[in-house]
Amino acid sequence: MAFIANTPDDVRVMLAAIGLDSLDQLFDMIPPEYRLQRPLEIPEALCELELTTRLGSLLDQNEGADKRVCFLGGGSYDHFIPAVVDNLSARGEFYTAYTPYQPEASQGTLQATFEYQTLVTQLTGMDVSNASLYDGGSAVTEAVLMALTVSQRHGRVVIAGSVHPEYRQILATYLANLDPELVTVPTPGGRLQVEDLDQAVNEQTAAVVIQYPNFFGQLEEIEAIVERVHAKGALAIVSVDPISLGLLRRPDTYGADIVVAEGQGLGNPMAYGGPYLGMMACREAYVRKMPGRIVGQTTDRNGKRCWVLTLQTREQHIRREKATSNICTNQGLLALRSSIYLAAVGPSGLRKAAELSTRKAHYAAEQLAQVAGLSVAFDGPFFKEFVIRSEKDPVRILEHVGRLGYHGGIALGRWDSHLKDKILIAVTEKRTKAEIDGLVSAYAKAIEAV
């Protein structure tokens, strides 16, 4: 019996203590008419050997970054994960603990989370961080919901068209039954134009959401944009790539009010999209409107420094329908992984990851631009990701490149038919020059063949 400790003997003794004759009687609270009278129609049990063999071979059918050279990005990246991250985060005491409700029995998780919060503030330059949210996409929406409360404006929310299309979809989903109008500012040139933004933001606008580097890898004119947002009395919500913070300006220096990020790149595997890590940091003044758990420092009765969950009166288990958010679960394990990652790589390592990604992405863009039939789509500066335009159908091109052993990029037409001639390509520090040259040659072959 998988994972059940009771022996037939135990069952006998225990049933007798309860005063029952059979396991079935345990369920006699349930009216018989609802009881399932047949076995569940699900596959039969597998022992460990079978499970390992069968699921192992199913997984082996997949061809991800382990089997093809990966140039896919769009919010999930093949960054390098140092071995210490896997090793330490796998310790049972971290892995199989629950939310640290009992601080005396949870100082490990609490201190690690306090350190995570500090690391996030160090990365972003913001005042405070929460203990994590679900993912970078829903974190954008949580930031908007928070901005509604902070600003007390409920008329409009503005988002740049250069924000990840799925992040924008999430926001639309959440706002569908709420008051604010959602206005998306198109970015046909790959970046947000300040004039377009000015038109979209009105006096009832609670917040403007910008991504930096944006979904196309482009660097928005972030300082000018935030200035305009503030001029309209709205909050600037900026979604960043944490790896980019090894190189790019910290959000505090350009006046961001709420910073969110997808923390996957910081030591978390791509894992077909999740679990990921929603990061959120903001100005101190907003902390009591921030969703999610927060760990704070205090002292115990002996005056010893220690940590506890704090400001819980914001949360749903206390405030119920008046909570700042319905969030309960956080992404503790991923926050831990990201903390270990940052502690292991340090400032020089993070900078190097950012710099190598930048250099290699620019090299790749330059080389691809020389392939007949391809051109670089947007002319703004970019970080580790860029868009190329293809004269031939990207979907077919990518199929061909795939057969040559490369995950060559993301066809942007999947989200927007206006972008159907475009491909988004990401390059991380893991990619070698030889792999990039191989990609370029694969594209050249594909253009010819398709």
Binding site: I4, N6, L15, L23, I30, Y34, R35, L36, P39, L40, I42, E44, E48, L55, L58, L59, N62, E63, G64, A90, E93, F94, T96, A97, Y101, Q102, E104, A105, Q111, F114, E115, S132, D135, G136, G137, S138, H164, E166, I170, T173, A176, R249, A271, G274, P275, G296, T298, R301, K304, Q312, Q316, H317, N326, I327, C328, G332, L342, A343, P381, E399
Partner: protein, 485 residues
């Protein structure tokens, strides 16, 4: 001594070697990215040797209680054993190295698993269609309510209310609010069940959904569920089943069979995902077929040739609640667990979860009275009201004192309908000896000196923290004692 913070251990210049030199042409960085975008310096992260990092986290971890090290009967959280076999499989590149935007032809193994999981969760729910997208139970609740909202909108019905029992988890009203509904509280009756009179009084044409946790948070199966479903359906409203307590009823009774129209799962609870100090979880939702068009997209679909695809073609879908497919890593572990159990095994899980809870209750209820129910499902709620009144010993004191015996505290002060609540859920993976040892410890505590209990725990790395101080003047990040000169 308590471990230093990473930042206190940091020394300038300390680092380890993890990335290589650049192998592409060396261009000045400023020629790639204009300086107006570049930071003046790297972030002020801590600087540590690899051994610093290893020793730090190794030692930190030991300050935690966890399933791997302790009995953890935290009610409502289903702290069962997390099988290592699942972790081994989840660590394979066939899962961890898969990018969410890979082409479907490179994902057939994984899509087969996810399709299978959708089918299984539908069967266990007794419902028709499953979306695996939501990232957590609470997001599943929200997604399901958004589905309900879309359903009513599509039918041209404007319904503004969601009814929720007073014994419900706080996520229910919070999710209802976030989905744009008004949360209306339904009282519990003297048996700890839904007060039918109150329910009927509040069930009007504005009611969209009734959110029911069954078994409920006092560990009782509410046998009125069929009647409730009928009343709701007669009014055109929907019954939502909060799946938090699914561990009690797997293979015994299916939510769809008791009248539920939609539900969420907490796979990290019911199907053994490790809790990771607070997450990650996942929150798949299952719905009746007429609600299926509104589910978040994509779902996994099977082609006629036996291959699998992602089905994005769902024009009535509410859209997305998170980016990418979902919390695949968590879902995969749930799948491993379910496949390890099979139909007989899943049923047995609930049998033993309920057996363990009832046995434990039988060992302690004379000293720790259980206000509602003679028997329980997978958990039970004792009240320390008598002890609080007679000896000044509160539920929290009892929980803290258990920690001194290397047992994690039960959930305390929840549900709100039991005063001085101790909510105890042993799960099926614990042995009789563990339960008996817990009962003995709990019984011993009942006669211990109240002063000792007020001081507890005394064997832990810290004693009771000052939580008021923490909330009053929040210190939420480390800052250097003095700024560097």
């Amino acid at each position: 001594d308590p471990p230093s913070l990473l930042f206190e251990t940091s020394r300038p210049g300390r680092a380890t070697a993890f990335l290589p030199a650049s192998d592409v042409p060396d261009t000045p960085l400023e020629s790639l990215i204009p300086t107006s975008h570049l930071a003046e310096s790297a972030p002020t992260l801590p600087e540590l040797s690899e051994l610093d990092v290893v020793r730090h986290y190794t030692n930190l971890s030991t300050l935690n209680m966890s399933i791997d090290s302790n009995f953890y009967p935290l009610g409502s959280c289903t702290m069962k054993y997390n099988p290592k076999r699942n972790e081994r499989l989840a660590a394979l590149p066939g899962l961890f190295a898969q990018h969410p935007y890979q082409s479907e032809d490179t994902l057939q193994g994984l899509l087969a698993i996810l399709f299978d999981l959708q089918q299984i969760l539908a069967e266990v729910a007794g419902l028709d269609t499953v979306s695996l997208q939501p990232a957590a139970g609470a997001q599943g609740e929200l997604a399901a309510l958004l589905v309900a909202a879309a359903y009513f909108r599509d039918r041209g019905e404007a319904r503004s209310k969601v009814l929720i029992p007073d014994s419900a988890h706080g996520t229910n009203p919070a999710s209802a609010n976030l989905a744009g509904f008004e949360a209306v509280t339904i009282k519990s009756d003297g048996r700890g069940l839904v007060d039918l009179a109150d329910f009927q009084a509040k069930l009007d044409d504005q009611a969209a959904v009734f959110m029911m946790t069954n078994p409920n948070t006092v560990g009782l199966f509410d046998p009125q569920v069929g009647e409730i479903a009928k009343l709701l359906h007669d009014r055109g409203a929907l019954l939502y089943l909060d799946g938090a307590n699914m561990n009690a009823i797997l293979g015994a009774v299916r939510p769809g069979d008791m009248g539920a129209d939609l539900m969420h799962y907490n796979p990290h609870k019911t199907f053994s995902g490790p809790h990771g100090g607070g997450g990650p979880g996942a929150g798949p939702i299952a719905v009746r077929s007429d609600l299926a068009p509104y589910l978040p997209a994509p779902l996994v679909a099977r082609n006629d040739d036996g291959t699998y695809r992602l089905d994005y073609d769902r024009p009535k879908s509410i859209g997305r609640v998170r980016a990418f497919f979902g919390n695949t890593g968590v879902l995969f572990r749930a799948y491993c667990y379910i496949r390890s159990q099979g139909p007989e095994g899943l049923k047995r899980v609930s049998q033993h979860a309920v057996l363990n809870a009832n046995y434990l209750m039988s060992l302690v209820r004379d000293l720790y009275p259980v206000p509602f129910g003679d028997r329980c499902m997978h958990e039970f709620v004792s009240s320390a009201r008598g002890m609080a009144r007679d000896r000044g010993v509160r539920a929290m004191d009892i929980g803290k004192r258990l920690i001194d015996s290397n047992i994690h505290a039960p959930t305390v002060y929840f549900p709100l309908i039991v005063s001085e609540a101790l909510m105890i859920e042993p799960t099926e993976t614990e042995s009789r000896e563990t339960l008996e040892n817990f009962a003995k410890t709990l019984r011993d505590i009942a006669t211990e000196d109240p002063t000792l209990l007020h001081d507890a725990p005394v064997t832990t790395p810290i004693c009771r923290p000052d939580e008021v101080k923490a909330a009053k003047s929040p210190i939420l990040r480390w800052t250097p004692a003095r700024e560097p000169a």
